[in-house]
Symmetry: D2
Subunit: 338 residues, 4 copies
Amino acid sequence: MRFFSDNAAPVHPRVWAAMQAADGPDRAYDGDAISQRLDAAFSDTFGADCTALWIATGTAGNCLALSAMVPPHGGVVCHREAHIEMDEGGAPGFFLHGAKLLLAEGEGAKITPETIRAVIDPIRPEVHQVQPHAISITQASEYGRVYLPGEVAAIGALAKERGLGLHMDGARFAGAVAHLGCHPAEVTVQASVDALTFGCVKNGGMSAEAIVFFTPGMADMVRFRRKRAGHLQSKGRYLAAQVLALLEGDLWLANARAANAAAQEIAAACADRLIHPVEANEVFVILSPAEAAALRAQGFDFYDWTAPADAPGAARLVTSWSSPPREVQALARAIAGL
Amino acid sequence: MRFFSDNAAPVHPRVWAAMQAADGPDRAYDGDAISQRLDAAFSDTFGADCTALWIATGTAGNCLALSAMVPPHGGVVCHREAHIEMDEGGAPGFFLHGAKLLLAEGEGAKITPETIRAVIDPIRPEVHQVQPHAISITQASEYGRVYLPGEVAAIGALAKERGLGLHMDGARFAGAVAHLGCHPAEVTVQASVDALTFGCVKNGGMSAEAIVFFTPGMADMVRFRRKRAGHLQSKGRYLAAQVLALLEGDLWLANARAANAAAQEIAAACADRLIHPVEANEVFVILSPAEAAALRAQGFDFYDWTAPADAPGAARLVTSWSSPPREVQALARAIAGL
Amino acid sequence: MRFFSDNAAPVHPRVWAAMQAADGPDRAYDGDAISQRLDAAFSDTFGADCTALWIATGTAGNCLALSAMVPPHGGVVCHREAHIEMDEGGAPGFFLHGAKLLLAEGEGAKITPETIRAVIDPIRPEVHQVQPHAISITQASEYGRVYLPGEVAAIGALAKERGLGLHMDGARFAGAVAHLGCHPAEVTVQASVDALTFGCVKNGGMSAEAIVFFTPGMADMVRFRRKRAGHLQSKGRYLAAQVLALLEGDLWLANARAANAAAQEIAAACADRLIHPVEANEVFVILSPAEAAALRAQGFDFYDWTAPADAPGAARLVTSWSSPPREVQALARAIAGL
Amino acid sequence: MRFFSDNAAPVHPRVWAAMQAADGPDRAYDGDAISQRLDAAFSDTFGADCTALWIATGTAGNCLALSAMVPPHGGVVCHREAHIEMDEGGAPGFFLHGAKLLLAEGEGAKITPETIRAVIDPIRPEVHQVQPHAISITQASEYGRVYLPGEVAAIGALAKERGLGLHMDGARFAGAVAHLGCHPAEVTVQASVDALTFGCVKNGGMSAEAIVFFTPGMADMVRFRRKRAGHLQSKGRYLAAQVLALLEGDLWLANARAANAAAQEIAAACADRLIHPVEANEVFVILSPAEAAALRAQGFDFYDWTAPADAPGAARLVTSWSSPPREVQALARAIAGL
């Protein structure tokens, strides 16, 4: 019973079907008819003109989006525990040619105008120090926390005031929107987000995410960078088909709601163990080594996490669109019975 | 009727089947059971210990392989019309951090020890000039020409003599081996090739190639570089499955033989128009604009090519594993009838 | 008797004097009073507002200037034998993060609108090919040839038409202007040059060149890049002093005239041996190995050069502002007497 | 009266004399007779075979030294307030092609085996996280603190145990050795330091530092990187002459002793204000805005510093080899009289 990672989940049947429907000869790269539909589909979803590029991974998506905002001698403000800082193997350094991540604090891996200012205000505006050029936030955050529309808008306002780009790592964007119950535009284009990495793989996709540009012009440059990074797949239609299948009929939201509900079910069973409020599909719990072993003995697979001070241990439990209800209930019961 | 690019071909049914068989929960990235089988499968195919990594594109595969051989201040000898020089959007400059391509001549886009020496011998061995660190050859070449085992071995011997790495861009490696009828090791590991980009996408795959390292140690570094380039897909099992399906029962060779045979059928119908001998699945022909228009009027789609001096025009006709025999025959007849 | 390189010449007494006059405590980096005078001095020399930065070497100057025009995924058109292509150890690849040099032809290492178009017109305007973003020309060229004002203006017009930046490598700019007898603005700001690397070291300086920006805004970004490249010296006043000393009273032109005159004296003695017309301070001559040995036996030091086809050998003879007239006359006599 | 920065100090007369003695024609770059003497001079100073390269700035020296140890996908452990992290405008990101600085804690800007382990031990040894490849320490530290021989040796032992390179930023190395009274080898080659940036500019030089490699082989690669970074000056003899002048008769130590003594004189006058023990030539003091204004009104120039918590303000006072005793005494009196 796998609660290790939403990356481990299978591909949604409607995604499979869309890929198979794409299986005929067509133009190579992104010249095919399916890829050509991405802009319209995302513009429709977000209720605003935007340009979208498929991309194989969130790491590449994040870094390519940032490459439209940050020169090699610049910097990006992000949370100290942001995925781009902690888990992308130095990809921002590669894609941004040595630009620097400027690390901000914030509860639940969410940054705020205050914590951003605490990083950028002390930077002397001269050549000895790397100047900020963009801000990157993660929605939902690395701890499964969700930025409210007003929180994103406040960061967006600061970004515009300081002339900084604003990027959103949306590996779990669907979960955040499902949690908020808002229109996706409220936490993006209406909040001054320039570019969003729209996650699909953790949410029923196989091998395609999308970079959505709300600011005109950015996509044109990124098309060159995508090719240059070896990310322009020659049979792009199979990637486009995955993304479109998730947008179609808001499957992306339905899948996210299922994953969120499973997480809530587990959270409800162990409210006293929670390290962070559960807002999307990740549950961080206090768990002693003995308790972790007991759960594993019952067949549950999950990731050990760094324990907070004074806690005997911790674990991360991740649900997905495909978590079997029976397994979710079993885990909830097991953890409640510890 | 598409003779535009083998990238336009669909995915082979056995590849589809393997992907679907992979559709269950498993470890993320390349920790899954299917990815773990790649080394053994390639070692078996090549009859030699090797390490293999899946990768989404040939561009990324070529550049990551070279990154194991070439420091940022070094150079790579390749043909003036090599794919890495002409068609990868500057990807070598990105992945190799500004290393330089050193351009050699050679008939049919094949380089030789002589043309390589003509490039590297005049380089003064001092810091004002970029020193060569590797050689990259394309098998089959950008003009569909095939290196014989002895030709690769001669280049390999020069590489070893000069302390250079040897990389083979094998986007159409299957076609070359099918043409030669030799064991794949004869043009790779037995000829001092350090790393091979083993093409799958043009040959029945969807979104996976493989980088095969015959020289121990290189893969370890490239694993870090693959992640850093955003190319470590989280559901890697679907890529591994594609590659394994093509190796299984030598489907890769069967597909290549079909594509080669189709090219031969077309070539036989227009021997007097051929710009290059046809050895793999590409047919380069003299074709006047009027003739090209006539073929297109009959429903044939293909790529205009730069005409040789004194020729009225040229075209590239590419077959694939899936080219319908009826369409191939139709094209052969049409071109013969011009 | 050294005719090997103008880099081997000593430092001009007025440059020494200016450096010593700078020897007191002052602000570090380029905050000192002397560095602050550079903009005005160059604006005065060129009769146009410009911004100037001192820089230790021509290689760094060329590459930093280009970094204001060319993104990492872009390209720079230059002559096949340009210094940035042949002799800078891959520095453009480093400073431009892997951008590509696009090599053009041209007699005497001078490119023309025609040869530039021959390079850029075939580039397909799509992501598989590196797009041009700038043109770089060398004044005087690597073969001591000088661009006329109209020739630069024609290239400048093409650059503007295509939206490309125009950079001039002026390692021997003084020699070119001295030869032309024109105002320096005629071959730069009036001809659409965006940035000039203004050479000083070969012309009486010690360790300072200048990058002169005629296009507003470029210098601001390059200040950051200069620091980032470790080129912001902490005692910048000693570099600024060198540059100002050469501008003062047009010492730069006087020095160049002396070097040019010495080259003419040698050229006049061997008109039948000349490979290129002598316009600045470099004399390229046909010289057989025996003749070269004979000259060396008489105490003349010089650089062997690649011989043109059908020539028995060649040499490069370089004069400088400090070439002793007696030695110049001796070389002229010796070569005439071969 | 300048206590702002040792970068503001003039050039030592013996350095001037050596530069002028170098003023004759010689080979370009580092082929001249003076540059050729560097290896022997440093080997003599350190009592061990080493290879030394002149370099214009400490920033370039630090980054080029590290480039011999750290691949683009690697990391460097340094103090959170190290110069390479705080004040080099992102140069490590440029020279190391995006490699990452891994920030450690430590009192007085000195790191320890414990604080280094606190950074590297939690790094999972897999591709999602950047792996450490080197450690960089600053001697004397950014707060003027000096590593004892045993402290360097302990870090060196950890570096060797973990397979990491060890670099020492020695912008104020002379001050540290003068303070310790030890042989320079005790804090470098005998303590497993692989490469030292040997500072000259703050200590009587004009425009030359040296990179000293104790580990064979590293310098060979760095020679290429130095050229590629535009740091191979064509008249290198004037840089080599500066460095040799400082080594000659241990002028470097005499200058450092003078600077250190001046700092001690000031420190003795304000022991109760000291933020850090004074070991080299920097004095960090608690100073309220009113007190700072009072000193400035008396003609003292210095740098405001970030005040520690609960302090009303702070300043950095820097002495140099050339600080006039009268000015030092005046400052000591003035600060005592506040």
